[in-house]
């Protein structure tokens, strides 16, 4: 499958001795050399903060190198802006899609280069252009639909087509699989193969080793801004790659003792939520989390997980249904009462809900307990005790920061998440709601957080884990539920032997367990439907 193409060796891109030093002295790229061959899929592998994204931003003209040379198609070029990069034939699919939700697929693809009919946009022609471009590369898309109405996988296709109609020959994909299901990932990889077969070149940014093994021809590994090496993928094992990436052996498997399950701590009963636009996001979800177990929730993003977590943590009021903590139905659930009742919450968007970016590490770790002793007495803070406490956490959670008084925005993504985790795990909680706790952070930090979750569970804490990373779910959870369109469509009381593919089928709605199997999880009985209509 990995046969080399005939024009192997001809490089489409060479970046030589690239340095990027920011005004504040941070060195993002140092002496980086990378060579990409025409017609290959080249993976750029590295932990978060390794400098992958910076390097690609330089290539795409978002940032300018402090020094170094870029050769494209054998000629030295200066890429002043994304516009210039596009004109040269470089396209980029960003991690956060650059799409306008209320516009149609065709409008998004052709934005800035709209076909005209008189003074108007020639819509029929636009549809045709986009349809053709898609078909040519096996990427069919619903051209007349609005972006907000199509799936994430579709949106990604739209992004790829966007680069193609602009004449891209070199396509950069920034962690493209982070938002996809296993099935969608397979589709994407097929499409990438077609692109390469038609003479395009792909740079694939990732930190997932199994994907590299599956799709890439060659890899360049970055660590702390330096190139560790470039190699043929077929010559390397995953363990070797991870060693290059992290610089140490990461133990890939978490040893877990059998769960010692205690009483029910969190009980969600027939939860319904109808969004402002009348879309029913949750349709009678029920489950419970017991002490000493980790309940994993799988599902493609946007199938009600966000709302579920927000309701449980008191950020959102459900349309119907109850939340019981310690067998007590919470009548006035808000973040404060939720915390008081022994819940802690690792939010999925750490920059928005997890930390206050401008505040210091100290301020962030005490933000839920600043009013309690010993941090505060008679309404006055005790700075020395706060500092001592924070330093303890920095050691315990291995947060890489030079001072507890550093503002959180100076930290890398993984370390910011560790600040959140440090606070939430030391709050003395009985229940931990962990929403995407390791999203977008590097292998080392992810591994650390997963181990902490398992440790908490062994201490008798009940953990609810929501994750898009199926490997993580399967590795950490004791039980797994699958959420699809706001309903529980499957539950597995035994994780042993369960595969990502099986979960994926339920996540995509291809399969669904029978009503009998779902008893106690999904409650779509006649009385409830009546209740909805009232």
């Amino acid at each position: 499958m990995k046969e080399m193409h005939s024009d192997t060796g001809v490089s489409i891109l060479e970046m030589r001795d690239i340095w990027k030093v920011y005004p504040n002295g941070v060195i993002a790229n140092a002496n980086v050399d990378i060579q990409v061959r025409k017609g290959e899929i080249h993976a750029l592998l590295g932990e978060n903060g390794a400098g992958k994204t910076t390097l690609m931003k330089i290539l795409f003209g978002f940032e300018h190198p402090s020094s170094g040379k870029i050769l494209y198609d054998g000629k030295e070029v200066a890429i002043a802006s994304p516009h210039k990069a596009i004109a040269m034939g470089i396209g980029m699919v960003h991690q956060h899609f650059m799409l306008v939700p209320s516009l149609t697929v065709a409008e998004n693809v052709l934005l800035g280069m709209e076909p005209k009919k008189g003074l108007s946009v020639g819509m029929a022609k636009a549809f045709e252009i986009v349809r053709q471009a898609g078909n040519q590369y096996g990427l069919s898309v619903p051209v007349e639909k609005k972006i907000e109405d199509i799936s994430v996988g579709m949106r990604q296709r739209v992004e790829i087509i966007k680069t193609l109609v602009r004449g891209a020959n070199l396509i950069i994909l920034d962690e493209p699989t982070a938002v996809l299901t296993p099935q969608e990932t397979v589709e994407l990889f097929k499409a990438l193969r077609i692109l390469v077969d038609r003479g395009k070149t792909v740079i694939f940014i990732t930190h997932k080793l199994n994907e590299v093994k599956q799709i890439a021809d060659r890899i360049t590994v970055l660590r702390k801004g330096h190139v560790v090496g470039t190699a043929e993928v077929k010559d390397m094992t995953q363990v070797e790659m991870s060693r290059m990436m992290v610089g140490r052996d990461v133990e890939m498997v978490i040893e877990k003792k059998p769960a010692v399950v205690g009483p029910e701590l969190l009980c969600v009963k027939k939860l319904h939520y109808v969004r402002e636009d009348k879309v029913a996001v949750l349709n009678g979800v029920s489950f419970s989390v017991r002490a000493g177990e980790i309940l994993g929730i799988a599902g493609v993003e946007g199938n009600g997980q966000t709302e579920l977590v927000q309701i449980i943590t008191g950020l959102l009021s459900p349309s119907k249904g109850d939340i019981a903590v310690n067998e007590k139905v919470m009548r006035r659930l808000n973040p404060k009462t939720a915390r008081k009742s022994g819940m802690s919450h690792i939010p999925s968007d750490r920059m928005v809900r997890g930390v206050a970016l401008e505040s210091t590490v100290e301020e962030n770790v005490i933000s839920d307990r600043y009013f309690k002793k010993p941090f505060s007495a008679y309404g006055i803070q005790s700075p020395r005790k706060i500092t001592r406490f924070t330093k303890g956490l920095i050691d315990q959670f291995d947060i890489r920061v030079d001072s507890s008084k550093r503002s959180v925005k100076m930290l890398s993504g993984g370390n910011i998440q560790k600040v959140v985790v440090a606070r939430e795990f030391t709050a003395g909680a009985k229940i931990i709601i962990a929403d995407q706790p390791t999203r977008g952070i590097d292998v080392g930090a992810s591994d650390f957080i997963r181990r902490q979750l398992v440790e908490e569970r062994d201490q008798g804490v009940g953990v609810l884990l929501i994750s898009a990373d199926l490997t993580e779910l399967l590795e950490v959870s004791d039980r797994i539920l699958v959420l699809y369109r706001g309903e529980v469509v499957a539950h597995f009381d035994e994780v042993e032997g369960l595969t990502e593919e099986t979960l994926g089928e339920y996540m995509l709605g291809i399969k669904r367990m029978s009503e009998d199997d779902l008893k106690g999880y999904s409650q779509e009985t006649a009385t409830d439907k009546e209740g909805m209509e009232r």
């Binding site: 306008v100 934005l111 946009v121 109808v274 109850d322």
Partner: protein, 338 residues
């Protein structure tokens, strides 16, 4: 008494609604285009005031309508350019910059008025021209309809045509597509080589042009002089009309019409024995009431029914029941019943 009541809802009244709606409509469309581009223009009030002033002064001193029109529109564009300079280029907060422009216009027009005419109150001493009223051929002979539709000010007709033009520009041309894209996701627009600042600049210029026509209407159509603060909050009411009308030019026109109605009503009520102060404040009371109502119906159901999830409510709460009754009748209830 009943005669006057009848007078309020006469054909004349409809004509008067159309008349007072005109400046609000123009400014509201100015608000729309700027908002869609993601660069809200709250300097509408100052822009209207400035072009109302410049129009009268230029027409008074040159006795040339075309020059007055040109100068008036140019002053509106200039206001937009200043706003764009501070907000887009110098990256100041666009709201603060607009507030500064509004304050500048209030003081600036009075200052120049007194410098040029020696009068700080109005330009009564300047002999300004006015833009003409237009009788529509054929239509003016139709009974009733002719009375309502014909004989309006030329800017009123221009404004009506502009509703359709703006709808077309915003939703059917490449420029409109780019304006909407820039407003909704500037990064997406930037990533395909659309200049966000350039697009916003264009939107602000269109906004200033439309708004300046509204200003010119006030001083050279509605009346034939400039008076200090003669916009009297219309620029802000236009913002409300836009918020109410949503993202289509037709919706915005309806929003403007509602506020025009309120204003016309306040004039008519002056003939009744309703206190002057009350009729004067009526348009603003309606503005607040309508916006509050509108915001309320857009609230998600579960915020409206705070606490309902624990099953304790649904009894008592008079207001809520009244609300549910009316909303069910009006068919605008949002939430679980879909």
């Amino acid at each position: 008494m009943s005669d006057t009541l009848l007078g309020i809802f006469s054909w004349d009244f409809i004509g008067s609604v159309i008349r007072v709606t005109t400046p609000i409509l123009l400014a509201a469309m100015g608000a729309l285009v700027a908002n869609l581009a993601g660069s809200p223009n709250i300097a509408l009030e100052g822009t209207m005031l400035m072009s109302a002033f410049i129009g009268v002064i230029v027409s008074g001193f040159t006795q040339n309508l075309w020059l007055a029109l040109f100068a008036g529109v140019l002053s509106g564009i200039t206001m937009s350019l200043v706003l764009a300079f501070f907000a887009l280029k110098m990256k100041t907060d666009i709201i603060l910059a607009a507030i500064a422009l509004n304050i500048f216009s209030t003081g600036g027009t009075i200052f120049f008025l007194s410098t040029l005419t020696g009068d700080k109150g109005s330009s009564a001493s300047v002999n300004s021209l006015v833009f003409p009223n237009i009788d529509l051929p054929l239509i003016k002979d139709i009974p009733v309809l002719g009375e309502i539709l014909s004989g309006h000010h030329i800017i009123t007709y221009v404004a009506i045509v502009l509703i359709f033009v703006m709808q077309y520009v915003l939703y059917h041309t490449p420029l409109g597509l780019r304006i909407r894209a820039v407003g909704e996701n500037p990064d997406a627009a930037e990533s395909v080589g659309i200049s966000v600042n350039k697009t916003r600049l264009i939107a602000l210029i269109i906004s200033g042009t439309l708004t300046s026509l509204g200003g010119l209407f006030l001083s050279m159509g509605y009346v034939s002089w400039f008076a200090r603060d003669m916009t009297a909050g219309r620029g802000f009411i236009a913002l409300a009309a836009q918020a109410l009308g949503g993202v289509s030019a037709f919706g915005v026109a309806l929003g403007a019409l509602l506020f025009g109605f309120a204003e016309a009503l306040s004039y008519s009520l002056q003939f009744l024995k309703v206190p002057y102060e009350f009729t004067q404040s009526l348009p603003f009371i309606i503005t607040i009431a309508v916006l509050a109502f509108y915001a309320y119906i857009r609230l998600p159901q579960n915020v409206k029914r705070r606490g309902a999830q624990s099953g304790e409510t649904r009894n008592g709460r008079l207001f809520q029941r009244v609300w549910e009754y009316f909303s069910r009748r009006a068919g605008i209830r949002k939430g679980v019943d879909s």
